[in-house]
């Protein structure tokens, strides 16, 4: 093609250059990859998945099954980009896919030679010996289409949630009419159009609306919509729906980039997404040069590209004559028009066009069909025969065959959440009928393909939608227009062919599903369309069945000798268009996958060498770098320091629930195993509560701060569950009672001061008024007062086994208080050290309270005996929980003190090496006892002192351990209670 400047509705005169498979080509700004390549004389653009057959571009929209390119240079590539949707940019790098070494010469295309025995489902019948896995690697390399991306740096997508009165999907004739009617009626309208330009078929159909050329009418309508503050979103495809919220995706230029996702909640919804043209199956219908009639029209009107020079047209409706007329005007030679219908099928307009075309030398045949096209690598000749006697064929030289078997309405959006379709004989396709909650189809999507009908239907649907949304203004009169006449289509699905020919009558182009495959599926008992779809992969391609779905169902009906309405099509699945994963991720990418919860002292820890790790959504300090190269060493140093002098730890992630009201005591008694109502004001108690099934849910300290007010602290891991648990029973069994539940976790920072020197340091740091309470505080008692004008509670309680005080203070004073403790000589310690301290004392964390342990397992038998009839209590009486093999929490130490053992090791006896009788829940190296100590849940059959094999094959192998009491250090607890 010479470098003449093409003119089209989407083109500018400005040129650009790009590379395809390493060669440089030129195009114009506004061109797509497909249009520019066609204009440059390139017709072969890809290879099919299974047989690697050379393919050209078939369609002009996202339904294109063949021309898919890899865009960009490895490793940052985008696979399977639809060439007719990809707007070219200067210097763009494109490559064809699924071929080696080149598109022209692909080694694997030799597979076609075996297509005889590589029919549908062949892989179920072979590759059984020696084993599938042996064959899998080469088969996976052959399969797949585009190159796997090695890297991808896309911006975060822009998300916008908004409401509107009427959402119209599709801005063709019907969509524009619907939007205008609704906007005039006063509704807030949003119009979504997949293409970058509005108009749909009006872009090439020579129609006039309200006395104006269609294109002028479109501009006028868009201008009017702007004045009525309607919002028009072009380049935006409706991709899905959930609970009445519609999801539309803006992907500029057909390539992932600065995408936007609109989440639209309309009061009424009009589906005007037109209809998708489908081919007719004939032999070799996948040769480059075979193209859909509508695609050729779009390439001509949008990009000034002629589909070819010598054309043969093959269709079963009137529109072929209007199209032929336009193609001849553009300078293409239409050698023949093959119409499957007999003379009675034609309308008056088509008859006139037909005689005019015959006058210019076009061979207009009725009651004929294209049996096959021939040519190596592209169309050379078309073999045509009368339907009455298929054998009496003649062939015509041509370089392009345009085919059209009719149009299938886009019913996808209506099928969601209960939509139903019915078969429309006049269309040869399925149309939506019953629609959930008042959504409507309009225009071609409703099966009305003639322009005037589409306009009227659109305006009607728009008006009804506006009324449903409560807008009662005057929608104005429906636009009148005339264009290509009604198609007067007579369904025709495939040309006659013998069994050998059926192997090359393609239905699903991308997955090479042909008529022979449907026959093979039927022969093996796959009769239902859902079975045929799964067995042959019909409709599993990136075109989501748009090319072969209906055609396949119709030909299956023919082979089964049943009507298409009974065979039906397979169930359409979301999304309505392929959706880039970047868009689905929304704002939750990278560090924002989930929010990050920070304690009031977070910045301090980060600034002072704290190594923070996620724990649920919180970030918690594991250790401080100054104390050692890693968690293990630093943890030991920090723990030792707490035992010898003391240290401070940020405990603010502790869950805190304030329970207030006259019935607070009885309420807590109903939720906890032990009694809260007997706690004296000013004192606290270690409390355990059960899940509904009797398992221990959580443990923690409950403080009674007044006669009718408690603070229940919950472990960081179970905080969310405990809060929902409290709220559930407050709102159900205790609704209307005198008790309230409030989450106050973030209202109190918690600084734990632990160690022998803790009281002396606190006496120095806290103001004078605190001196007396500090001395008087006994174990589990607390004092409330203020510090620097803010509330402060000092609770004497210990999770480390040392003398310790929990300072519950308002977040605003937490940093100064923390800094003053540092200044007084107490250094911070992290979770690693805390774990060492608490395991040495046999205190429990979620490794023990893991939802699988009853209170009996955790030696809380007396708590249960004297405890409340709380939630979960009844189900503790089940026999299994009282069997002798039930586990018991014990301490555990290595027989050889120097040996290490870890949490997660299984415990066995020599006589039963394959059946564990218990496992180590937690284990730490204790600097104080200079050996590894741990806790374990072991069958009751083994008493303290028993020696068991500690098995850890996945890590450090086995050793011997001895069961001990669970408290390894200071069993009497006098360090804590002194």
């Amino acid at each position: 093609m010479s470098a003449v400047v093409r003119r089209g509705t989407r083109l500018t005169a400005e040129t650009l250059c790009f590379t395809f498979d390493g060669r440089e080509y030129h195009g114009q700004v506004g061109d797509t990859a497909a249009s520019a390549l066609l204009a440059s004389g390139v017709r072969t653009m890809g290879r099919s998945v299974k047989y690697r057959r050379l393919r050209g571009v078939l369609a002009a929209g996202p339904e294109e099954p063949n021309a898919l390119f890899t865009v960009g240079s490895s490793p940052t590539v985008f696979p399977n980009v639809c060439a007719p949707q990809l707007e070219l940019r200067e210097g763009m790098v494109l490559r064809s896919q699924n071929r080696w070494p080149s598109l022209r010469y692909d080694v694997a295309s030799l597979l076609q030679l075996g297509s005889g025995f590589l029919g549908a489902g062949f892989y179920y019948k072979t590759f059984i010996w020696p084993s599938w896995h042996r064959w899998e690697a080469p088969i996976r390399a052959l399969a797949g289409l585009g190159e796997a991306p090695g890297a991808c740096e896309l911006p975060t997508v822009a998300v916008e949630h908004f409401s509107c009165d009427v959402l119209v999907a599709g801005a063709g004739a019907a969509g524009l009419a619907a939007a205008r009617a609704a906007a005039r009626a006063g509704a807030r309208v949003v119009l979504c159009e997949r293409e970058p330009v509005c108009g749909g078929e009006l872009e090439f159909e020579s129609g006039t609306i309200e006395g104006r050329p269609a294109l002028a009418w479109i501009d006028a309508t868009l201008a009017e919509l702007a004045t009525l503050s309607a919002r028009v979103l072009t380049g935006t495809a409706l991709v899905g729906e959930t609970g009445g919220e519609f999801i539309a995706l803006y992907e500029p230029g057909g390539l992932p980039g600065a995408n936007a996702v609109y989440k639209i909640r309309p009061r009424a919804f009009v589906i005007a997404m037109g209809a998708t043209e489908r081919p007719i199956a004939f032999i070799n219908n996948d040769l480059p040069g075979v193209m859909l009639l509508g695609a050729a029209e779009r390439f001509l009107s949008r990009y000034g590209v002629n589909a070819g020079r010598e054309l043969v047209l093959f269709a079963n409706h009137d529109r072929v004559y209007a199209a032929a007329t336009r193609l001849v005007v553009a300078g293409m030679r239409v050698r023949a028009i093959v119409d499957t219908r007999d003379a009675t099928g034609l309308g008056p307009q088509a008859a006139r066009q037909r005689t005019a075309l015959a006058g210019t030398g076009t061979d207009c045949l009725l009651g004929h069909a294209v049996i096959r096209v021939t040519g190596r690598g592209q169309v050379r000749r078309a073999v045509i025969a009368p339907l009455a006697s298929p054998a009496a064929a003649h062939s015509i030289a041509c370089d392009t065959l345009l085919v059209s078997g009719g149009w299938g309405p886009s019913t996808h959006a209506g099928m969601h959440e209960g939509g139903v379709t019915r078969y429309e004989e006049a269309l040869g396709a399925f149309v939506s009928t019953e629609q959930p909650d008042g959504r409507e189809n309009a225009g071609a999507a409703n099966g009305l393909l003639e322009l005037s009908q589409a306009l009227a239907d659109g305006a009607g649907a728009g008006t009804r939608a506006a009324r449903r949304a409560g807008a009662d203004g005057d929608p104005g009169t429906a636009p009148l227009g005339s264009g290509d006449g009604a198609p007067r289509l007579v369904p025709f699905w495939r040309s006659p062919a013998d069994r050998a020919g059926e192997k090359h009558q393609f239905i699903d182009y991308q997955n090479d599903v042909n008529v022979a495959d449907l026959r093979a599926a039927l022969a093996e008992g796959f009769v239902d369309i859902e079975h045929v779809k799964r067995y042959t992969a019909l409709g599993f391609g990136t075109d989501q069945g748009r090319m072969g779905g209906l055609l396949g169902a119709a030909i299956l009906a023919e082979l089964r000798g049943e009507p298409l309405r009974d065979v039906g099509t397979s169930r359409l699945r979301p999304p309505y268009h392929p959706v880039t994963m970047q868009s689905l991720a929304g704002l939750r990418v990278g560090a924002r996958l989930r929010p990050m919860r920070r304690t009031p002292l977070h910045e301090w820890h980060v600034a002072h060498g704290g190594v923070l790790e996620p724990m649920d959504l919180w970030m918690r300090t594991r250790y401080y770098r100054e104390n050692g190269p890693g968690a293990y060493e630093a943890g030991i140093a920090e723990a030792q320091r707490v035992r010898t002098s003391g240290g401070i730890i940020d405990g603010s992630t502790l869950g805190k629930i304030e329970v207030a009201g006259p019935d607070s005591g009885p309420f807590l008694d109903a939720l906890y195993l032990n009694k809260a109502s007997t706690i004296k004001v000013g004192r606290s108690k270690y409390m355990v509560n059960l899940r509904e099934d009797g398992m221990v849910l959580d443990d923690g300290i409950v403080l009674r701060i007044a006669e009718d007010r408690f603070i229940a602290t919950t472990s960081s891991g179970h905080g969310a569950h405990m809060l929902a648990h409290f709220e559930h029973y407050r709102d159900t069994q205790w609704s209307g009672c005198g008790v309230t539940v409030t989450d106050v976790t973030e209202a109190w920072a918690v600084i734990v001061v632990a160690g022998p020197q803790s009281r002396t340091v606190l006496r120095e740091v806290l103001s004078a008024q605190w001196r007396q309470p500090l001395d008087a505080l006994t174990h589990m008692a607390f004092a409330r007062g203020t510090l620097a004008g803010q509330d402060l509670t000092v609770l004497r309680a210990s999770f480390s086994g040392e003398l310790a005080f929990e300072l519950h203070c308002r977040p605003s004073i937490s940093e100064p208080l923390w800094e003053s403790l540092i200044a007084a000589g107490f250094k911070p310690y992290g979770l690693e050290a805390l774990d060492i301290l608490r395991v040495e004392k046999g205190y429990l964390v979620s490794s023990e309270l893991n939802g699988q342990t009853t209170p009996f397992d955790l030696s809380m038998d007396d708590l249960v005996k004297h405890g409340n009839h709380c939630i979960g209590r009844e189900l503790l009486d089940r026999p299994a929980f009282h069997e002798p093999t039930r586990p018991r929490l014990v301490g555990v130490r290595a027989v050889d003190g120097r040996m290490a053992f870890y949490g997660g090791a299984q415990l066995t006896t020599p006589d039963q090496p394959h059946r564990a009788c218990g496992y180590v829940t937690s284990s730490v190296y204790s600097p104080t006892l200079s050996e590894w100590v741990g806790l374990a849940l072991v069958s009751r059959a083994h008493a303290d002192g028993a020696v068991l094999d500690c098995r850890d094959p996945v890590r450090i192998g086995d050793c011997k351990v001895r069961l001990t009491s669970i408290i390894h250090y200071d069993p009497s607890g006098e360090r804590m209670k002194s």
Partner: protein, 167 residues
């Protein structure tokens, strides 16, 4: 505690307001049968504004009202309700951090995370989740007043800042 946190970008301002004491009043019954003390914002999503026109008492959850830095008059109202034994008053100072989101781009920023029109339809305030952070949202004049749970506040500010950066 963070000082006045400001995000300044064309058409958008996110300003943190220092708050003093913050209370939550929780009624024993919902829907509260007897009318509360006079002037009590009983309807769901209702706000009783204080004398400076600031949000004084917000009914953001069933039987739960938020009183951020209550003026004398609102504090008295709450105390009266507690005395009438219709519920309890909880001092939750530190639990919420209050932000003002102002400017022409404010609505669009919130639209990145939820449909503000629906959640504020027929009400002045609502309990919502913005950028995965639990909040109470109130429309005030041309902007919004947002109370974010304190442990999420830093993340909330980062989320809004990341929306303002180009690209």
């Amino acid at each position: 505690m963070k000082g006045v946190e400001q995000v300044r970008h064309r058409g958008l301002g996110l300003v943190e307001r220092q708050t003093g004491r913050v209370l939550e009043f929780v009624a024993f019954h919902f829907p509260s049968e007897g009318a509360f003390v006079v002037g009590w914002p009983a309807a769901p999503g209702a706000i009783r504004h204080d004398v400076q026109g600031l949000s004084g008492l917000l009914h953001f959850a069933p039987a739960r009202w938020l009183a951020p830095s209550p003026c004398r008059e609102i504090a008295a109202l709450v105390a009266a309700a507690e005395d009438a034994a219709t519920g309890t008053c909880i001092d939750v100072t530190g639990k919420w951090r209050e932000f003002a989101l102002i400017g022409t781009a404010a609505a669009r920023v919130l639209a990145s995370t939820l449909n503000t029109e629906i959640v504020l339809e027929g009400r002045e305030c609502a309990a919502v989740t913005l950028f995965d952070c639990p909040c109470v949202l109130a429309r005030v004049g041309d902007g919004y007043r947002i109370w974010v749970r304190a442990s999420f506040a830093e993340d909330f500010v980062n989320a809004i800042e990341s929306l303002c950066l180009p690209g």
